[in-house]
């Protein structure tokens, strides 16, 4: 009798996927997703901490440079203000940026400017500009005595000296406005050369021409 071979039932290699996926996720205890998520979170946290540390280090360097610029501007401002406190005729003084140029970290990249209202110290590095601005206490002009007298002579036909005061129709207020306009433009200073600071007096008649007024100005020039 010939026996008819019976086909052997081969188990399927594909995993059996239950119809209910929710039940499958809930009963799967292999925790691969959990592991992956926690590792990704750890890597992200590590990257963020490292980036924050690098940022902190860079910011500390920038803050240090800002601080040095503040010191330079403050020192220069103090020199101008102390000249303003001196009485007229005490003689001018020279201010030098040498200590900052040769011993500081800025080298020749340091820029210093002065205007009628403030001093500015700035430094350019990798396209970024660091600036410190300090307001001046006294009225200041970034010109020499000769330049101021020439400007006054051109504008009012009088040099504003004791022997040649600014004539009466102009008056102190208009003269101060003219000088304030004159001092608005910043003058860049060469930090390799000393800056001369001195006080000067500009004489002007009152509006009604009855008396002569003295206007005190600090001159900052090279």
């Amino acid at each position: 009798m010939k026996v008819k071979p019976v086909a052997e039932k081969v188990p399927s290699r594909r995993p059996v996927i239950p119809r209910d996926h929710t039940t499958h996720i809930c009963t799967d205890e292999r925790a691969w997703v959990d592991l992956l998520l926690s590792k990704v979170a750890l890597i992200l946290a590590g990257v963020i901490i490292l980036a924050a540390l690098c940022h902190l280090a860079v910011d500390a360097g920038r803050m240090n440079q800002d601080r040095q610029l503040e010191v330079i501007a403050q020192d220069f401002r103090s020199a101008i203000d102390s000249a303003g406190r001196d009485s007229y005729g005490a003689g001018g003084k020279n201010y030098s940026f040498d200590p900052y140029e040769y011993h500081g970290r800025f080298g020749s990249g340091l820029n210093v400017s002065v205007s009628g209202e403030y001093v500015t110290a700035s430094f350019d590095e990798k396209g970024r500009r660091y600036t410190s601005v300090k307001p001046l206490t006294y009225k200041t002009l970034p010109f020499s005595e000769t330049e101021v007298r020439k400007e006054l002579m051109d504008a009012f036909s009088a040099a504003g000296t004791q022997g040649q005061p600014i004539p009466a129709p102009i008056g102190p207020e208009n003269l101060m406005e003219f000088l304030a306009t004159l001092g608005t433009k910043e003058k860049n200073l060469n930090i390799s050369i000393p800056v001369h600071i001195e006080k000067t007096l500009i004489y002007t008649y009152n509006l009604n021409g009855t008396g002569v007024k003295e206007l005190e100005y600090i001159l900052v020039y090279q």
């Binding site: 902190l56 209202e117 403030y118 006294y138």
Partner: protein, 175 residues
């Protein structure tokens, strides 16, 4: 000994091999590092801002002290001697200014950007003069004050009393 106390003993932690916390150790340690870093950064920033505020205050104090000493030596308000301040002159320029021209002259040499009030008072508190560019000074934006001791000459009888000149700098767009 109860079951609860047995489970909480040290040997139960060291011999427990169920590793219930093991998969989360890295997360806990990372969380501690993050918290530590945040606290460190907060402390650093707070220290820097405190230092910045103090240096700005010191800088403004120097400027206020310079102005105060300048005013104490201002010739038009001097009394019968150079080291005295005349109460009559202060009466003329304090608010409301009786002598407008002298009041204007008082502030003329200072930069227009500088906003400050001068308060001169006797130490016994009997006299006080307030000098300001504006007729109605506001103390809302005061940032720093500096004082210098002076001697004030009261009236014509040469009665001299000790006092102080106080300069209060106000915050403006530059400061």
């Amino acid at each position: 000994m109860g079951l609860g106390s047995k489970n909480l003993s040290t040997s139960s932690f060291t011999s427990d091999e169920k590793a219930f916390m093991e998969p989360h150790n890295d997360i806990i340690s990372t969380a501690m590092v993050v918290i530590g870093f945040v606290i460190f950064a907060a402390l650093i920033s707070k220290t820097y801002f405190a230092y910045d505020d103090n240096s700005l205050a010191l800088e403004n104090y120097r400027q206020a002290a310079l102005i105060a000493s300048d005013i104490a030596a201002y010739p038009p308000i001097q009394g019968s001697r150079q080291d005295l301040i005349s109460a009559d002159a202060l009466d003329a320029i304090s608010i409301p200014a009786a002598d407008r021209e002298m009041h204007t002259e008082f502030f003329r040499r200072f930069s227009a950007n500088l906003d400050f009030t001068v308060e001169i008072r006797t130490d016994d508190g009997s006299h006080m003069w307030m000098i300001d560019r504006h007729e109605t000074p506001s103390s809302d934006n005061d940032i720093i004050a500096a004082s210098v001791p002076v001697v004030i000459e009261l009236g014509n009888n040469a009665l001299c009393v000790p006092g102080t000149v106080t300069v209060r700098l106000r915050k403006n767009r530059w400061i």
